[in-house]
Symmetry: C2
Subunit: 339 residues, 2 copies
DNA sequence: CTGTCGAATGTGAACGATCACATGCGCCGC
DNA sequence: GCGGCGCATGTGATCGTTCACATTCGACAG
């Protein structure tokens, strides 16, 4: 009782209390099969009594793995990356892994390399790179081999396993929805072209139009920001042939709605607007925004699954899984007036 | 050249190559003063030649510190917590620390305790708890002592050092701005009352009104969501005596603007609206939103500073620093029509 | 000349777990 | 009846660093 020298219990203390060897305690901790039921109970009781917690550092040193996953994240507060990180953390925690995060200010080769370096130094078991930029694709190729790594939202044709939401399919969903409402064609306000997702959404938009035999209007370039959506809106608002606009994300759609409103064009009566992401605010814009939802939790889960398969030796069963997006129809899209 | 067995270099390899003992290498790595200049150079050269990286696990085991900081974060995609996390990561990286993150689904006592447990198990040097909820304050009190810990946005009167943005001052800024424009009084749509920040904003609102000798109208309860702002808007829109509304965050202000618009009340001509947070979208709402900006980077920096002071033995110089917020005036606020 | 001190460096033992291998023992098959 | 196999458990080495203490050597004061 009073002998306790304020020191945390280690495995040998547990062994002594349970009357077994330290190795038996280790076996119990790691669920080794050949431990007698009764012995296991005795050990577990001792563990509880001493409030013993295995030291992760020692574990990592002795064993091969740290049960830590490093995440290289782009230094941004955008909804997508943040949601992906959260989804990954949740999945990892359930699987008994911890998350070590490094945020990058710039997603260039040096930055990514240094971040991965930093993480391997910490003996992470694997790395997830949230790399939505084109520049990241190059950086990812020059990674030190030997570290199990999974890439998110990038370079789906590359050597590394990757997980991503099917942006092309998402964009097609949006465009097909608008065409089905009766619009002759759909305009597009794009994201920045150094983002892979932005390119894929452009591709999906174009594919859907071409598949339907529609004219493909010129693309309006944007950069994810509400401002770019606003400016695009001012550009398009006075054209009577613009009846439907697909914005590359919800923030841009927000700016677009504002510009239309200012120019006296009503949504969806005059112009239908569809966004992408389904940010929490989307349902509360005026009007509530029709958009494409991405399942970031699923992305996180699949990242972890791929990583675990990588740990087990072989490559993952599916090297480049694509998570299907879904369309959320709200009030910002409707039939054109002529229809 | 060909003898290299694909094994990473360890400290003894460096020692051998440099012709010194492993301990001397260790001294060089840790900037111990008593190493001859020439010896230091020789060691550093060997380090570079072998591309040696000290193993963080071994370091953590042998030494006392892991250079890791654990972050307990509430499982949310809200702008504030996400920005705080990012600011903290940046500050930590500059100081040579890494971030270990645990996201909580529920911010109750058991959750916080388990998260901190999980982190101490990983031998983190210290813990930052992003705990904006009242329930967290209780949980934080029952923390195992001995782990240096700093709390964010919570319980500024508690035993643990805390860092937070001065919410009361922020709310006063907003209200004083509206009163200065000539409004008789200011209504408030609150955040959820189990959030400390929400309570502080209510306090600031009330203080500012009382200080100015204004009538304090009943508070409208909300929950951060755009929906709650929208509903509050429908409630207030048909009251002619409502000319100025201070919303507890920007999302609520967004919903408020939509409701006003639907009810045919214009902002700011009929009703002025002010938000809180300055989310990236705020500048692009219709109209652009006047709001209170919080400096989350500064919060991150101060958290780290407090933690480092805690490591050095003594408590931090300032136990409960409050980061001042600032008012960002945009188009959603203006003088009342009568003025 | 000698004793003491501090700077520079080395030696071996931690740190707290796992791994590789050894041991004892009951059971089965020939 | 006995060799061998598999289960349950124990023993010592090992992971890669830092810590505690020992050693060497030159400088300097008494």
């Amino acid at each position: 009782m009073s002998q306790q020298p304020a020191r945390v219990a280690v495995i040998r203390d547990v062994a002594r209390l349970a009357g077994v060897s330290h190795q038996t305690v280790s076996r119990v901790l790691n669920n080794h099969p050949s431990v007698r039921e009764e012995t296991r109970d005795r050990v577990l009781r001792a563990v509880q009594q001493l409030n013993f917690r295995p030291n992760a550092m020692a574990r990592g040193l002795a064993g091969r793995r740290s049960r830590l996953i490093g995440v290289v994240s782009f230094d941004t507060l955008l909804y997508g990356p943040a949601a992906t990180l959260l989804g990954l953390e949740r999945a990892a925690r359930r699987a008994g892994y911890g998350i070590r995060i490094v945020a990058l200010e710039q997603l260039d080769r040096a930055g990514v390399a240094e971040a991965v370096d930093r993480l391997t130094e910490q003996s992470v078991d694997g790395v997830v790179i949230i790399a939505p930029l084109m520049t990241a694709a190059a950086a990812v190729h020059s990674l030190p081999t030997g570290v199990p790594a999974v890439v998110v939202e990038s370079d789906t044709a590359g050597e590394l396993p990757s997980v991503s939401v099917d942006q092309v399919a998402g964009a097609r969903l949006a465009v097909e929805h608008l065409l089905a409402l009766g619009h002759r064609t759909v305009w597009h306000v794009s994201g920045p072209q150094d983002w892979l997702e932005a390119r894929d959404r452009v591709d999906g938009w174009r594919q859907a139009l071409e598949a339907a035999g529609c004219r493909v209007p010129p693309m309006v370039s944007g950069d994810w920001s509400p401002r770019s959506g606003y400016e695009a809106g001012r550009l398009l608002a006075d054209r009577p042939d613009v009846t439907a606009v697909f914005c590359a994300n919800d923030q841009q759609a927000l700016g677009m709605l504002r510009a239309l409103h200012e120019q006296g064009r009503r949504a969806p009566e005059d112009v239908s607007v569809v966004g992408f992401d389904d940010i929490p605010e989307a349902a509360y814009l005026s009007p509530p925004l029709t958009t494409v939802r991405q399942d970031f939790d699923e992305v996180g889960r699949r990242c972890l699954a791929a990583l675990l398969e990588l740990f087990d030796g072989g490559g993952p069963a599916v090297r480049h899984p694509r998570v299907p997006p879904s369309l959320v129809v709200r009030a910002s899209s409707g039939p054109p007036r002529s229809a």
